[in-house]
């Protein structure tokens, strides 16, 4: 058992489990464009990684996205082109879950149009799904890809709650309470 805690480190490099067997770990936050031999040389200087085997080196890759703030509406539908939707990171949503979210919204509305000719899934901006759809489709001179975050949701009514966690809890409740119920109804 720990008798006494040691000093707080000056910095910590974290590795995150990458496969089910827990045999591979990725370096958290270490996306990089360094040359492979430089990665090997420099990252091996991190205490504990002197003999590290790199299964994969960090790479930079291209990203492609359209200016959705000008081009799309909040169902990920190209304005003035009723037959064409976009989904995934090409719309400027950033991240896996965000991509899934955009695929969901585009698909629900495309299905609506297929059967009835009318889009019915314009999600409330009180949900993260709806807030993201609204974010990417709102005119913005400096449009940049966006992750899910509470900053894109409308503020809570009433006095501002100072405690972040409590505020986020309220925002989550607001989304899941009333609005998801509505989502279900129209699905």
């Amino acid at each position: 058992m720990i008798q006494e805690l040691g000093k707080r480190p000056y910095a910590i490099v974290q590795l995150r489990q990458d496969d089910k067997q827990a045999s591979l770990y990725n370096m958290v936050g270490f996306q990089t464009n360094l040359k492979f031999k430089e990665q090997k040389r420099i990252f091996s200087k991190i205490p504990g990684l002197e003999q590290a085997e790199f299964v994969k080196y960090g790479v930079m890759h291209r990203n492609t996205y359209i200016n959705s703030s000008k081009l799309l509406d909040n169902t990920y539908n190209l304005k003035n082109t009723p037959n064409l939707y976009f989904a995934g990171q090409i719309t400027g949503v950033e991240g896996y879950v965000e991509s899934i979210s955009s695929g969901m919204v585009a698909a629900l509305n495309a299905s609506d149009v297929f059967w009835d000719g009318v889009k019915k899934h314009q999600f409330s901006e009180h949900t993260v799904i709806g807030a993201l759809a609204k974010y990417i489709s709102t005119p913005n001179e400096k449009f940049q890809p966006m992750n899910a975050n509470f900053g894109i949701l409308p503020e809570l009514e009433g006095k501002k709650i100072k405690d972040k966690k409590m505020r986020y809890e309220k925002l989550a409740k607001r989304s899941l309470g009333q609005n998801i119920a509505n989502m279900r109804e129209i699905c």
């Binding site: 058992m1 805690l5 000093k7 707080r8 480190p9 000056y10 910095a11 910590i12 490099v13 974290q14 590795l15 489990q17 496969d19 089910k20 827990a22 045999s23 770990y25 990725n26 370096m27 936050g29 996306q31 464009n33 360094l34 040359k35 991190i46 205490p47 504990g48 590290a52 299964v55 960090g58 790479v59 930079m60 890759h61 291209r62 990203n63 492609t64 359209i66 081009l71 190209l78 082109t81 939707y85 976009f86 989904a87 995934g88 990171q89 090409i90 950033e94 991240g95 896996y96 991509s99 695929g103 495309a110 299905s111 297929f114 059967w115 993260v128 890809p145 989550a172 899941l176 989502m183």
Partner: protein, 291 residues
């Protein structure tokens, strides 16, 4: 009007869209260019191949991405369901076994009677949208020819940007005299815990909790590392590739160049841990740890 909806791109967005449309009794033609053609980051034949991190981020409702996942679960998202089913331990985060995840998505999509997967690169969208609904979900590594086509349809000039992926290391090659397990957010002392209980929990956790490995640095080690990092040689980018980087996936060397302490307040923050190298060790064999 066509009696099906076309989806271009079998990544996360395209697969979720295909499932949702099929669920509403509409036929889907899902186009995927692999294995005929691969992007620079993709390497296997499966649909929904993930290449950046294996983490779908936090599962907490007090995190916006966690809340988004919960909303999607309630809308019967196939991909979140499979992510839940193929998760690996990662503290409060939902991280998946990549291989397993994309294999399971591929199976679900391929066995769906409403979905036809067509392994071809699409180059002509204009024709497709004439008499049918199309969803373009070609991702951050959209092929050049299709990107040009999208540029034409949307009258866009700029479509290319950059993002980045982190290195992966074999656990067995890590020196556990220095490295230790532990999830930053479980490390802090809980209000209701006594000091003794807390220490005991940390000891136990370091034995059992394997989702994160931590590598502590002292000031000298950190500063040397930082110096090397900012002077390191980077890969030269192609002429046509315009460099624009955004916070979510910023290369570590770029972040480091912002200042000597930027990493310490970012991904390398020491919060929540002590450095075991500076712990006093006891002699009693029953309490000695393997370091």
């Amino acid at each position: 009007m066509k009696d099906y909806i076309t989806i271009i791109g079998g990544g996360l967005a395209g697969c979720e869209a295909a499932y949702q449309i099929a669920k509403r009794n509409i036929k889907v033609k899902l186009y995927e260019m692999k294995p005929q053609k691969y992007s620079p980051a993709h390497s296997n034949e499966n649909l929904a191949e993930i290449v950046c991190s294996n983490s779908f981020k936090s599962n907490l409702l007090t995190n916006a991405c966690g809340l988004l996942k919960e909303e999607l679960r309630r809308l019967d998202s196939l991909l979140i369901k499979i992510a839940d089913e193929t998760k690996v331990p990662a503290g409060q985060a939902l991280a998946v076994d990549r291989e397993n995840f994309s294999k399971r998505v591929t199976e679900e999509i391929e066995k769906n009677p409403y979905i036809e997967v067509i392994k071809e690169e699409v180059v002509d969208i204009k024709q497709m949208i004439k008499d049918g609904i199309v969803i373009i979900a070609t991702g951050p590594l959209t092929s050049d020819s299709l990107a040009k086509e999208i540029q034409k349809i949307t009258s866009q000039e700029k479509l290319y940007f950059f993002d980045a992926a982190a290195p992966i290391i074999e656990k067995d090659s890590i020196n556990f005299d220095i490295a230790f397990y532990g999830d930053r957010y479980h490390q802090e002392k809980k209000k209701e815990e006594t000091i003794e209980e807390w220490k005991e929990r940390l000891t136990k956790q370091e034995r059992e909790e394997q989702s994160y490995i931590n590598l502590p640095m002292n000031q000298e080690e950190y500063e040397n590392f930082w110096q090397e990092l900012i002077e390191a040689e980077v890969v030269t980018l192609h002429e046509f590739e315009k460099r624009e980087i955004f916070e979510g996936c910023m290369p570590i060397e770029i972040m480091a160049k912002r200042g000597i302490d930027t990493l310490r307040f970012g991904p390398l923050k020491p919060v929540g841990f002590d450095d075991p190298r500076t712990r006093k060790k006891t002699i009693c064999h029953c309490t000695i740890k393997a370091r």
